[in-house]
Each structure stands twice: as C-alpha cells, then as structure tokens.
C-alpha cells in the first residue's frame, strides 16, 4: 500500500504577527487539552485549592478578623484577594523553569519563548477568573453577596494584574535561566509577598508608620480596589491605582527588555 502526499501547498510567508497568532492558538489548545486530560478533576483543582486555603484561614482567623474588618465579610475579603494573587503567583513561578521545560517545544521554529509565556499566562487568567466566579457564586449560596455595581472596576483590576504578572513572568524566565539558585530565593520572596500584600488580613490593622510602608507594595492597591468594588463600604482612602499602573508599565518594559536582550542566547547551546 503506498501513501499519497497531500496536495502541494507550500508554506506561505506570513507576517510575524500571524505566525505569533498561530503559535498562541496552537499552544493554548494544547495546554487546554493537557490540563483536561491530566487529572481526573482537571480544572477543578484551581478552585479547590483556593477554596481549601480560604477555609483554613476562615477557621483560624475568622472570628478575630471579622471584628477588625471594616465594611466587608471576611470570606468575601479572602476570595476577592486570594484568587487574583494566586494567579499572579502561579504565572510568575511557572515562568522560572520555562526555558528548560520548553526545550522540546522550541523545536518548531515558529514558537518563541514569549509565545509559551503568553499562552500559559493567558490560560491561568482564564482558569483563575472562572475560579473567582465559581467561589463568588458559592458565597452567594451562603447569602454572602458581592456588590456587582462596579464589575468594570473588577475586570480592569484583573486585566492590569494579568499584564503585571506577564511582565514579571518574562523577568522570571530570564532570571530562572541564568540565576541558578536565585530561583529558590525568589520562591521565598513570593511567600513573603503573600503576607505583605494583605491577602489574609486587612492592612488597616497595621499601625503607622508600617501601614505607609505596606503601601509601597503595588499589589495592595490592585487587590484593595477589587475589594472596594465588591463591597462599596470597604474603605478606599489609601488606594492609588495609578501607582499600580506605573508599576505595570515599568515591569513590562523591563521584562520585555530583558527578554529581548537574551532572546538569542536562550537557544544557544554552550
């Protein structure tokens, strides 16, 4: 039995953006299929993981913090802050080992490192955004309602946080490749960041001058704004979202710069 070649259709010269678009689409579909098939619970792992953490902190701090928390239910407070932060953490830490992990994929020349980072980050955005919706629905079931008046602000915060994470991911990819042991230190830094971003406690309980110090952390501004949007009674006097946006621009600029500087070196065998 002889096999016939399909009709001759030479590969066309495409513009860079088209190649990138094809790579993004192909990688996204591949990631989707891999995650679906990998575990029996597939995508449910992300909501379950966050749910578990929320429950733990509810049990440990629930009663105490409920009294210190102005204008917001503690479980809503946790869900509103933890899910976006988890997304950031996941995007950033996965990028640390990306160069080594993607070696096989890069065999196809139309895929660049940045394409893989874009596709994976985008998938995390989708997964965690749905996680957020799912958990909010769960809260509504227990009569804890988030205000839906300011959904556009929530969306805005999510998208800017995603862009921020993407810039960080690019930097992490470069650092992870050249840094060696630095990547271990970075994982620790993320844990510190987790506690310094007011994810599990309202930062208002922190006294001055430390309260002002905390406000240097860009995450706080984004996450507090999400909370304020969900619960309008939650105070917003300390939030400066332009500060976060400046960080986003700076981080993306630096990330792209670092990536562009070493792009060729990343595939060079030594």
């Amino acid at each position: 039995m002889s096999v016939q070649l399909p009709p001759y259709r030479p590969i066309k010269h495409r513009s860079g953006l088209k190649v990138m678009g094809a790579a993004f689409h192909a990688l996204l579909m591949r990631e989707l299929q891999t995650r679906f098939g990998g575990y029996r619970l597939g995508y449910l792992w992300a909501p379950l993981e966050v749910l578990f953490q929320v429950l733990i902190f509810l049990v440990i701090f629930g009663v105490i913090i409920e009294r210190a928390l102005p204008g917001m239910n503690y479980s809503l407070f946790l869900v509103a802050g933890m899910v976006p932060f988890r997304m950031f953490q996941r995007i950033a830490t996965r990028a640390l080992g990306a160069v080594e992990a993607n070696k096989g994929l890069l065999m196809y020349r139309s895929i660049k490192h940045i394409d893989v980072i874009i596709a994976r980050s985008f998938l995390e955005l989708i997964i965690y955004f749905f996680t957020s919706i799912l958990l909010l629905l769960g809260l509504a079931f227990f009569n804890i309602y988030a205000s839906l008046e300011n959904l556009h602000i929530v969306l805005f915060c999510w998208i800017t946080l995603f862009l921020f994470s993407f810039g960080i991911a690019l930097m992490m990819m470069v650092i992870g490749y050249y840094g060696g042991e630095i990547s271990k230190v970075i994982t620790i830094i993320f844990t510190i960041l987790y506690f310094a971003s007011g994810i599990i406690y309202p930062i208002h309980v922190v006294p001055e001058p430390y309260f002002s110090y905390l406000l240097y952390n860009p995450f706080i501004h984004n996450i507090e704004l999400i909370r304020h949007a969900f619960a309008p009674n939650y105070p917003a006097y300390h939030i400066d979202i332009t500060y976060f946006l400046k960080w986003t621009v700076a981080v993306n600029f630096l990330g792209l710069l670092m990536y562009k500087a070493v792009e060729k070196d990343l595939i060079r065998s030594k």
């Binding site: 039995m1 002889s2 096999v3 016939q4 070649l5 399909p6 009709p7 001759y8 259709r9 030479p10 590969i11 010269h13 094809a22 790579a23 689409h25 192909a26 579909m29 591949r30 299929q33 891999t34 098939g37 990998g38 070696k103 096989g104 994929l105 890069l106 065999m107 196809y108 020349r109 139309s110 895929i111 060729k264 070196d265 595939i267 060079r268 065998s269 030594k270």
Partner: protein
Amino acid sequence: MIEVKNISKSFMTKKGRHYLFKDLNLTIGDKQNVGLLGRNGAGKSTLLRIICGLDEPDHGEIITDSTISWPVGVAGGFQGSLTGRQNVRFVCRLYSSGAYIDEKIRFVEEFADIGNYFDMPVKSYSSGMKARLTFGLSLAFDFDYYMLDEAGAVGDAAFRKRSEEILAARREQAGFLIVSHNIGDIKRNCDIGIVLMDQTAHVFEDTTEAIEVYEKHIHKAKK
C-alpha cells in the same frame, strides 16, 4: 537559497574553548540535495540545528527566504499525555491552516500506520511507533528544505519503502540537507557533498569525491 555566512561556533570545555568551525561559508541552491559528512563531533548536527534556527552561532548569520523544516525525525515537543492525533494537530496549527489541517492529519495517520495507537497517549508508544509518527509529521508539510539528521532507518521493510517513496516525491519539490554515516545513502541521493573537517567546510560538486576525501580523513585520524 540558503546562505551560510561567516559562521563560527564554539563550546566551552574545561581545557578552554573548542571550535567546531570558524568562519564557515556555504551556499545551498534551490532543490539541491546536499550530503553532510564528517566525523562524530565534527559539528554536523550543530550546523544543521543552526540552519534550522534552533541554535545560535557565536557570530555570523544564515540568510534565506526559504522555509526550512525542523530536523526531520527528531522526536521532541510531543506532549506525552496527549494522543498522537492531538500532537499532530498541534503542529498543523502552527504550520498550516483551516481546511488543510485535516488532509495533513490524514496523511500522517496513513503514513505512520500505527492503527488505534494514533488516538492513544503518546507516552504509551514504543520508540518505533514514536519514530514513525515524528517522521510522518516532518514530511507532511511542504517546506522548501528538509533537514535530515540520521533519519530514515526506522521501522519495518514496508515502512522503509513508504519513506523512500515519499522522500523521492519530496525531492522533486524541495532541497535536502542530509547528515548520514551511511555512505551509500549519500551516494544515491545527493548532488553535492560537504565534508566538515579542520573547523571548516569543504564543498565538492561531486559526491564521490567528497566521500573519498572524507574516508581519507577518518583513516588519517585513526593513525
């Protein structure tokens, strides 16, 4: 046309820098079949990877407006938990579009001929099945050049015959760069021979001459 211009490539070893080649220049014309010869470690595969765009030289550049395949038959980029079909579709999405994807997949399925395994996770494949799939996948797309790195000697007699047929059909439309230790293979299929030695490339318009030089070179090295 592929123009290789002033390419140098070196590796750092404990004893200092080891140069594979210095200021190497080459031109490969359209639809030419080029055989690449050289001892183990002479840098044949590295040169191939540089031309494919998978490795970066220390300096120098590759100038081309042709489409070049990835190293044919090199297994990589397969996601073990996905089925053969899903993996093939992934590559099709990169290099083909819309309606043509299905005919590419059909070709790979028929060519690899691994039956039901095509719809099973790749990690359950034997190495032979994986090789058949990668080989078929590499040949499904209409590149201007194909890079063959010790490829072709996989599978049973029927598969090998099928490979030869497809390769012959491909030779009519495209150029080939072949790395092989099989002298007969190169003698049969190539118009031009290139011998990689003394950190540079020697180009011979006649393959028999290239093979002679190459054989003299390896025997000299033995002494």
